[in-house]
C-alpha cells in the first residue's frame, strides 16, 4: 500500500514549475483524431476569447492552430513502427502578450535533411518572396507525396509573420521527433531568438517527462470553477473505454479539480483562481489522474492524517466513514463537504498516492494521484 510517495511524485512539482516558468497553458501528447483536434481548437478558442482583445490576433492564432494540427494528423502515420513515443504533441503558451504554438511528431531520419532545407529556405525569404514561393510550390506540387507538407510549412510562416523554429530529437536509427515552434503575431519578432530557443528547450524537457510517465494531458492552472468546466468538456471527448469507465473517470476528475479550487493555496488573493496543475495519463485503459497545488502549511498535518486513514480502511469501513460524513452537517460549509477524499478512494478502488514538498515558509506543494482500474 502506498502512502507518502514523495520521490515518485516529485516530477509533478517539476512539471508544474516548468509549465509555470514558460507560462505553458496546455500540453497534449497522444494520437490526434478529429475529435481531439476539435477539442483542442475549442479549448484554445475559449482561452483566446477570455484573454485576447485583438480579434486580428485571435484569428491569426486560430488559423495557425488549424494548420499545425492538420500537420500532425497528416504525418502521424508516417512512422509504421509501434514506438512508445509515436505520439503527437501540442503545446500552447502565452508570453508577453504573444502566443507560442509548438507541435511535434515523429519523422523518418531520411526525411530530416529535406525538412531542414525547406524550413531554412522559408526562413530566408521575405514576405513577398514567400508569397511567390508558395505559388511555385502550389503549381509544381512535386515537393511532397502527401500533397501538402511543403505548403503547410510555408503557410505557417506566412500566417505567423515570423520565422519557424525547429528541433529534431533522435529516437533511434530510423526516426526522430520533430518539434516546430511558431509565434503568431502581428509584427515580426526580432532579437528575442534566445528566449525562443530556451522556451523550445523547456518544452523538449517537459515532453521527455511526459514520455517517461506516459502522460496524455497536462493543464496548467489557474483553476476556478469556470476553467474546470471547460477542461471537463474537453476531456469528455478524449477519453476512451466503456461509458461506465468514462463516467468513473469523470467523477474522479471533478472531485480532484474541485479539491484544487476549494483548498488550493494562493498568495495572490486578488484573483478568484488558484495555481495548480492537472495531469491525466492513460496506459492500456488504465487512467492515472494527478493534481498538484499549494496548500497552507498549517493544514498539511490534518490532510496527511485523513489520507493515511482513508488508505488504511477496508471498503466496508470506508463506506461507514462516508455515510458518517454524509450526514454530518456540523462541518457543513461551502469550503468542504469532507467527502471528496473518501469518495476518490471508494470510486477508484485503489489507495491514493500523495506527496508533500515544502516550498516556502507557509506553503507546501501537494500532489495527489488516483489510479482508476478498469472494471
Amino acid at each position: 500500500m502506498q502512502s507518502d510517495n514523495t520521490d515518485f511524485l516529485r516530477f509533478v512539482f517539476i512539471l508544474f514549475k516548468a509549465m509555470q516558468k514558460d507560462n505553458l497553458g496546455y500540453v497534449y501528447r497522444g494520437r490526434f483524431t478529429q475529435e481531439i483536434t476539435d477539442n483542442i481548437l475549442a479549448l484554445t478558442e475559449n482561452k483566446l476569447e477570455k484573454e485576447e482583445q485583438s480579434s486580428k490576433i485571435k484569428k491569426r492564432v486560430y488559423s495557425i492552430l488549424v494548420e499545425c494540427l492538420q500537420n500532425i494528423t497528416r504525418h502521424q502515420n508516417d512512422i509504421k513502427d509501434d514506438l512508445p513515443d509515436n505520439n503527437g504533441l501540442f503545446v500552447i503558451q502565452k508570453h508577453d502578450d504573444k502566443y507560442f504554438i509548438t507541435t511535434g511528431n515523429m519523422v523518418m531520419n531520411n526525411n530530416i535533411d529535406y525538412i531542414k532545407k525547406l524550413i531554412e529556405t522559408i526562413n530566408s525569404l521575405e514576405k513577398e518572396d514567400l508569397k511567390n514561393y508558395y505559388k511555385i510550390v502550389l503549381e509544381g506540387g512535386s515537393l511532397s507525396s502527401k500533397g501538402g507538407a511543403g505548403l503547410g510549412l510555408i503557410d505557417m510562416a506566412r500566417k505567423s509573420g515570423n520565422k519557424l523554429h525547429y528541433h529534431f530529437s533522435r529516437v533511434n536509427k530510423d526516426s526522430s521527433f520533430f518539434y516546430l515552434h511558431t509565434i503568431p503575431s502581428l509584427e515580426g519578432i526580432e532579437g528575442s531568438l534566445e528566449h525562443k530557443e530556451e522556451s523550445l528547450n523547456n518544452i523538449i524537457n517537459i515532453h521527455n517527462t511526459l514520455n517517461k510517465e506516459n502522460i496524455l494531458l497536462v493543464s496548467n492552472g489557474p483553476f476556478n470553477q469556470e476553467s474546470l468546466m471547460i477542461l471537463l468538456g474537453s476531456l469528455e471527448g478524449q477519453m476512451k473505454g466503456t461509458i461506465s469507465h468514462k463516467k468513473k473517470v469523470f467523477y474522479i476528475v471533478v472531485e480532484m479539480l474541485q479539491n484544487i479550487v476549494k483548498h488550493g493555496y494562493t498568495l495572490d488573493s486578488s484573483h478568484n483562481s488558484v495555481p495548480g496543475v492537472f495531469i491525466i495519463g492513460e496506459n492500456k485503459g488504465l487512467y492515472t489522474i494527478i493534481t498538484g497545488n499549494y496548500v497552507d502549511i498549517n493544514k498539511t498535518k490534518a490532510l496527511k492524517k485523513k489520507l493515511e486513514n482513508v488508505n488504511s480502511l477496508s471498503m466496508e469501513k470506508l463506506d461507514e466513514y462516508f455515510n458518517k460524513c454524509l450526514f454530518n452537517f456540523e462541518s457543513d460549509s461551502s469550503k468542504k463537504a469532507g467527502l471528496g477524499i473518501i469518495d476518490l478512494r471508494i470510486k477508484s478502488g485503489n489507495p491514493l498516492s500523495y506527496s508533500f514538498i515544502k516550498t516556502a515558509q507557509d506553503s507546501v506543494f501537494f500532489s495527489l494521484q488516483t489510479v482508476i482500474t478498469t472494471v
Binding site: 476556478n224 470553477q225 468546466m229 466503456t242 461509458i243 461506465s244 463516467k247 468513473k248 469523470f250 467523477y251 471533478v254 472531485e255 474541485q258 479550487v261 476549494k262 463506506d319 462516508f322 455515510n323 454524509l326 450526514f327 452537517f329 457543513d332 460549509s333 461551502s334 468542504k336 463537504a337 467527502l339 471528496g340 469518495d343 470510486k347 472494471v375
Partner: protein
C-alpha cells in the same frame, strides 16, 4: 398550497421543478457547483415550507446525470425533509440512473439504506 419553484439547469447546476399543483417534484441534470450550499439553500427552504402542508402523495424524481460530493450532502438534507413528510403522508422516491452508470445506482442505494423512504430504482 406552496407556490411552484422552477430553476433552469446550468452547466454545473441541476434543473429543479417543484410544482405541487401538478404533482411534480423533479431534480435533474448535473450538480457540481462550487458552492453547493448556496445553490441548494432556496431549494431546501422551499421543501421545508412545503413540508408543513404537503399533498397526499409526493412522488419525487431524482434524475441526475452527475453530482459531486458537496451536492451529495445537500441531497441528504433533501431526503431527510422528505423522510419527515413521510411520517404522516405518502412519499415515493424514483431514483433514475443511466444503466451504464453503476456509481449513480450505488449512490441511490446508499441513500435508500440510510433513509427510511420508499425508493424505486429506474434504469434507463
Amino acid at each position: 398550497m406552496t407556490e411552484t419553484l422552477i430553476i433552469e439547469a446550468k452547466e454545473d447546476t441541476p434543473k429543479i421543478v417543484f410544482d405541487p399543483a401538478n404533482r411534480l417534484f423533479q431534480i435533474s441534470a448535473s450538480s457540481l457547483p462550487e458552492n453547493a450550499i448556496g445553490f441548494y439553500e432556496p431549494v431546501i427552504k422551499w421543501l421545508n415550507d412545503y413540508s408543513v402542508n404537503p399533498i397526499d402523495l409526493t412522488v419525487f424524481d431524482f434524475s441526475f446525470e452527475y453530482f459531486n460530493t458537496a451536492s451529495a450532502k445537500q441531497i441528504a438534507k433533501i431526503l431527510l425533509i422528505l423522510e419527515n413528510i413521510a411520517k404522516e403522508h405518502e412519499v415515493v422516491i424514483n431514483w433514475h440512473y443511466k444503466k451504464e452508470d453503476s456509481d449513480m445506482l450505488s449512490s441511490g442505494s446508499r441513500f435508500s439504506k440510510l433513509i427510511d423512504l420508499n425508493f424505486n430504482f429506474v434504469g434507463y
